[in-house]
């Protein structure tokens, strides 16, 4: 039970621990109070929000009908799940038919050449979520590969920091919408042999994410390396450690908690930016889904967009939790703000 409590606290899910404590029989009155505070209160707030939402939504009339309330949204989420199931069933049928067709052809003529087609149905909502996740991680990876080494150099050398600081400060606040046209043109000019597994729209979205999300990691890495304990440097000097050892065994580990804090911010920024980038670059992810539904303008479009909004929020929250765990693991037991 101790492990459950410690683990849930690493996850930042502090509301699990009163339940675990209650099960292990620890002072029930205090645990009930904790449950009331940590679980009851947020649930109440959600209930109030849902109530407010349904009342407010029903009184706003748009050109696409009334704004969807919680009920319509859940209904649409169900419908979208059914669409996904139907699409999967169609895909299964397609492959079954193909296997049968090829088998029949081989029976007639054993040396016949058979072709295996891939199913080319329209992407389901889950496919779009997957595309978005792959894109954001690709962009985040590129951002990390640039930000951490550059941040390291900036942190080690005040001269480099002084040189790059104006550029960093100017580029940091630029919106993804401003980057996108430039990235689009550059990618179109440079990335010629378009591979099927890496379409242009994906590259454009990923690079836009990278451009916007690398700044927090860069600044935090630089700060982490620059603010290293002076005593650590003195130990390294007394031991005459070579630069490579200093970086790998002292500077990077010392900066790790701040590096991860930066990566966490970067991933959060990246996820926000991605939706906008996908809308404009037409990368088949959640952003394109929202845009298509908006253009579609059917009576259920708004409800489908609300489902997407909630999905984006939940995934963003989950990504943040993952980063919090990594950050805690990198912090050697020092507390981390959840």
């Amino acid at each position: 039970m101790r492990h459950v409590i410690a683990f849930s606290e690493t996850l930042g899910l502090s509301w699990v621990s009163p339940f675990a404590r209650l099960i292990s029989g620890e002072d029930p009155r205090r645990q009930f109070r904790a449950i009331l505070l940590e679980v009851g209160l947020p649930l109440a707030a959600i209930a109030v929000f849902l109530l407010f939402w349904s009342v407010a939504a029903s009184s706003i009339r748009t050109s696409l009908g009334t704004l969807p309330g919680p009920a319509q949204t859940i209904e649409q989420a169900g419908a979208m799940w059914q669409e996904y199931r139907a699409e999967k069933a169609k895909e299964k049928l397609f492959y079954q038919a193909q296997i049968q067709r090829n088998a029949a052809r081989l029976e007639r003529n054993p040396s016949a050449r058979t072709t295996a087609w891939t199913y080319n149905g329209k992407p389901t909502y889950l496919d779009q979520i997957k595309t978005s996740l792959v894109t954001v991680f690709a962009g985040f990876l590129v951002a990390t590969l640039i930000a951490v080494p550059v941040g390291l150099v900036c942190g080690l050398s005040p001269t480099v920091m002084g040189a790059l600081n104006p550029l960093i400060q100017v580029f940091k606040p630029v919106s993804p919408l401003a980057w996108l046209p430039i990235v689009t043109m550059v990618v179109s000019a440079v990335y010629l042999g378009e591979a099927a597994w890496m379409p242009k729209s994906f590259v454009i979205s990923a690079f836009t994410v990278a451009l916007c999300s690398l700044w927090p990691s860069l600044v935090n890495t630089a700060l982490g390396v620059a603010s290293i304990d002076k005593d650590f440097i003195n130990v390294a000097r007394v031991l005459r450690l070579p630069t490579s050892t200093r970086i790998t065994r002292i500077y990077l580990p010392a900066a790790l908690p701040l590096v991860f804090a930066g990566l966490r911010l970067s991933l959060g920024v990246g996820w926000m930016v991605l939706i906008a980038a996908e809308m404009l670059a037409q990368n088949p992810g959640l952003g394109k889904f929202v845009w298509d539904e908006f253009q579609n303008g059917s009576s259920v479009s708004l409800a489908r967009i609300v489902v997407a909004v909630l999905t984006i929020g939940v995934i963003g929250f989950a990504l943040d939790r993952v980063m919090v765990i990594l950050q805690r693991l990198a912090s050697f037991g020092r507390p981390v703000q959840a």
Binding site: D231, N234, V235, V238, L239, R240, L241, F332, G333
Partner: protein, 276 residues
């Protein structure tokens, strides 16, 4: 008497401040014989830690020379191991790795397992034989400083520099660690220089206690030899007839005018004549 192993000659340290040049130390002379344990004691801010930093090579002297074993020092190096006031262990490494990182550097010709063995042995000497693989961040403050001591001895330095090594510990742990240090030092007999502001600590550990005048222009005020027999046990030291006489002479200096009145810039001509 042979030539001193550690010679500090006319050491000076000054800083540029917003209100002009501040000379912390000036005309600081000190000789330490090989294998002796010498403590430097003085009021806070008198610049005693600065002296140690300069001997370690972590700070550049403004003027003067520091010679170890007939050779002038050049920057920091593992031949002058330092035990810092805060243990300064790398918290992401285990106790063993914290010692090993220095041993790897100083004994590159030894095999990996030999170096591990050396490090483990040094840790067992300070009573941490069972905590080798504990993360430094999981050790108590006292245990951390034990690792700090082991790390310094593991370098097999020619000079051991201790910068108020027990200043951050509670009284009981401090007494315990003084004994650990004395025990390890007594076997290796490394020339040692310790900065402290604790009179009893200085007397218990040292062969000589050097008292500094207050800054600015701080220098050596008085040197008191401590001829208490070794090996020393605390009970015997406290019961020794000379102990309270020594203690009183230290306190008299520290409370007297010499350690309180700031020094004046030395007469350049006079010191020049002396050097010639």
């Amino acid at each position: 008497m042979s030539r001193p192993f550690l010679e500090i000659v006319q050491l000076e340290k000054s800083f540029e401040t917003s209100r002009g040049k501040l000379t912390v130390l000036s005309g600081f002379d000190l000789n330490i014989q090989e294998g002796k344990f010498v403590s430097i004691i003085g009021h806070s801010g008198c610049g005693k830690s600065t002296v140690l930093s300069m001997v370690a090579g972590l700070e550049e002297p403004s003027d003067g020379n520091i010679v170890v074993g007939n050779r002038e020092i050049e920057g920091p190096g593992p031949d002058r191991a330092v035990v810092f006031q805060s243990p300064s262990l790398f918290p992401w490494m285990s106790a063993l790795e914290n010692v090993l990182i220095g041993v790897d550097q100083v004994f590159p010709q030894a095999t990996r397992s030999q170096r591990r063995e050396m490090s483990a042995w040094q840790l067992s000497r300070v009573g941490l034989g069972k905590e080798l693989d504990k993360k430094a961040s999981d050790l108590s403050q006292g245990q951390r400083q034990r690792v700090g001591i082991a790390r310094a001895f593991a370098l097999r330095p020619r000079v051991l520099l201790l910068d108020e090594p027990f200043g951050m510990l509670d009284a009981l742990t401090r007494a315990e660690l003084q004994e650990v240090l004395l025990d390890v030092w007594a076997r290796d007999k490394i020339t040692a220089m310790m900065i402290t502001h604790d009179v009893d600590e200085a007397l218990f550990l040292s062969d000589e206690v050097v008292m500094m005048t207050s800054g600015p222009y701080a220098r050596v005020g008085e040197i008191v030899p401590v001829n208490l027999p070794r090996p020393r046990a605390r009970k015997d030291v406290l019961g020794h007839p000379d102990y309270y006489r020594l203690r009183r002479s230290l306190l008299e200096f520290l409370e007297g005018p010499a350690s309180h009145s700031p020094g004046a810039p030395p007469d350049k001509k006079a010191s020049g004549a002396k050097a010639a």
